[in-house]
């Protein structure tokens, strides 16, 4: 099937050239990378920014008077402001905390806000489609503090069921939800949930690990209190996660981990914590990674997020159509039927071929898809499966990638029939 130029709001061919990994071959075939929901590839500009920093500027930040230490500090803090602005943080210099990944950001909220505010019998509300990163920290705290966890259910179209939302959040102290499901692609109405949660007096923690790379994201529009995401899914490096928190709340919280950087003073008999955001950043932060993150933000801003979003809607529409045409009732695509309701993630079942086996066969064609529970086991149980195969898109994917996927799936079905 030919590429239809009109479906892309930007020049995919040009974008593809920016990503060195796409030149790779696997089993003699050009790579078809369809696992961006797990981790994205990085454009040359990100790799160059990190390399340039490492070759010309590296020094530890925040403590040095000398020139390169000051430059490193400036670049590091500049990344904080850049990524904060990118997601609409009102006060990025104070409200953006760097951690090692999205998961640590959510744990940070559980440790600092959670341990301060949650007491035996208190209620936390999560959704059935959360990633483990937004479940396990709360389960650990629930076990420690005898908390109750309630679940917002998911319907057969992969949408949250809001019929009893008022009752579910009633009396809750915290509501955690994903802005976009990493399995179903479902884009959740965060603002609506946040409003109900706030009316009930709960704080709202948003897992935006999938939303930020794929949708225009505005923490203010979310109306949330904490928003967590990570660089490695948004064309940036591994090793750095980002937490936005409402300034007044961050100001009120105790530190997370202890060590250098997060203190103003240490005496033998105790310590004085630093101001925000440094209070939450113990030890040497991911410096090179912050520089890479700023370059990733710049790259996405260059593409513009609405264009990225439109590209993914187009590609998802194309892919859902093609797969349904080709495999009919033999394929089950999980999640919302309308591509406009979902990000560029397609989880599916193909006949009774196990996702693991699908992925193994697809690899022969250079096609990279993920097979498994996608760190969302409660959702898997809700869907009645152990695992799904998942193809997910980045701005560098095009219709030709989808065509190869469909071809390879055909082969997988034949192999196991």
């Amino acid at each position: 099937m030919a590429l239809s130029e009109s479906t892309t709001a930007f020049d995919v061919a040009a974008v593809r050239k920016d990503f060195p990994l796409l030149a790779r071959t696997v089993h003699g075939k050009p790579i078809v990378y369809l696992d961006s929901a797990a981790s994205s590839q990085r454009p040359r500009s990100v790799l160059d920014a990190m390399r340039h920093y490492d070759e010309t500027t590296h020094a530890n930040v925040h403590r040095g008077v000398y020139t390169i230490a000051e430059e490193a500090t400036r670049l590091f803090e500049s990344a904080r402001v850049a990524v904060g602005r990118f997601v609409g943080a009102p006060d990025p210099a104070h409200e953006i905390v760097f951690a090692k990944n999205t998961t640590e950001c959510l744990n940070l909220v559980a440790h600092t806000w959670g341990r301060t505010h949650l007491h035996p019998g208190d209620v936390i509300v999560l959704t059935e489609m959360e990633h483990h990163a937004n479940i396990v920290p709360w389960q650990m705290l629930a076990a420690e503090r005898a908390l109750e966890i309630r679940w917002i259910p998911v319907d057969d179209d992969g949408q949250l069921v809001f019929d009893d939302l008022e009752a579910l959040v009633d009396g809750a102290r915290l509501v955690g939800l994903t802005a976009m499901s990493n399995v179903l692609g479902t884009i959740n109405p965060v603002a609506q949930v946040a409003e109900a949660a706030h009316r009930a007096g709960a704080v709202v923690v948003v897992d935006a690990a999938q939303a930020v790379p794929h949708l225009p994201t505005d923490v203010t529009a979310f109306g949330a209190d904490f928003v967590a995401f990570g660089a490695h899914k948004m064309l940036g490096p591994t090793g750095i996660g980002i937490l936005w928190g409402r300034r007044e709340i961050l100001e009120s919280l105790p530190p997370f981990l202890g060590g250098g950087e997060m203190i103003l003073d240490v005496r033998k008999d105790g310590f004085t914590p630093n101001e925000i955001p440094w209070r939450f950043e113990a030890g040497t932060p991911p410096i090179t990674e912050a520089i890479g993150l700023e370059a990733a933000v710049a790259y996405l801003e260059g593409l513009t997020m609405p264009a990225v979003r439109q590209h993914e809607i187009d590609l998802t529409t194309y892919a859902m159509g093609l797969l349904r045409d080709r495999f009919g009732t033999d394929i089950t695509i999980f999640g919302p039927p309308d591509p406009a309701d979902r990000g560029g993630v397609i989880s599916f079942a193909l006949g009774d071929v196990h996702p693991h086996d699908i992925s193994q066969i697809l690899d022969e064609y250079g096609v990279c898809v993920r097979a498994g529970h996608h760190c969302a086991k409660p959702l898997m149980r809700r869907l009645g499966v152990n695992a799904t195969a998942r193809a997910s898109f980045g701005p560098y994917n095009d219709e030709a990638d989808v065509d190869v996927l469909a071809e390879a799936l055909q082969h997988a079905r034949e192999f196991f029939s």
Partner: protein, 165 residues
């Protein structure tokens, strides 16, 4: 680079399509044990009935990929009726075949040796394992080793829990 035919031998596909000893045994008298593969979400349920120091019966339930299912099926056929020490030895042999890195592979691969000379499977007596030899090729696909060993580890754990050595 290993080809798909190393992994998906005909005998494996056969056990996958027609698994032996499917189901669960009544507990008690049987013992029931679950195993998980965190990689792919597969869950396996092994029911064991040990009588007079032998594995009188075994059944396999749960779902999984072709490798984990066929390995469980092949295992059930191989161990059923054997004495516990014989079963233990077979588990050792099988895990030896899958070894080198299995210990470091709950969800990946543990050493730099995969792909170089150290990757050669342990020397095992191929005659002693019969049909199980079909699973030998799995070791060339390190990520799938956990699929193949899931049922075996679960069986071993079940014997441990029963205090059978």
């Amino acid at each position: 680079m290993p080809g798909l035919e190393d992994l998906y031998r005909e005998i494996i596909l056969d056990h996958y399509r027609s698994p032996r000893n499917r189901g669960e045994l009544e507990c008690p008298p049987a013992h029931r044990i679950e195993g998980f593969n965190p990689l792919c979400g597969d869950e396996i349920v092994v029911s064991l009935l040990v009588e007079d120091g032998a594995l009188a019966d075994i059944k396999i339930a749960g779902t999984g990929c072709s490798i984990s299912q066929s390995s469980a099926s092949l295992m059930s056929a191989a161990v059923k009726g054997k004495s516990v020490p014989e079963v233990r030895e077979l588990i050792q042999t099988f895990k030896g075949m899958m070894s080198i890195h299995e210990a470091t592979l709950p969800a990946g691969d543990g050493g730099k040796s995969v792909g170089d000379t150290l990757v050669e499977p342990m020397a095992i007596d191929i005659n002693a394992i019969g049909e199980l030899a079909a699973l030998q090729g799995v070791v060339k696909f390190p990520v799938r080793i956990k699929c193949a060993t899931l049922s075996w580890n679960t069986l071993a754990q079940g014997l441990d829990e029963l205090g059978e050595t």
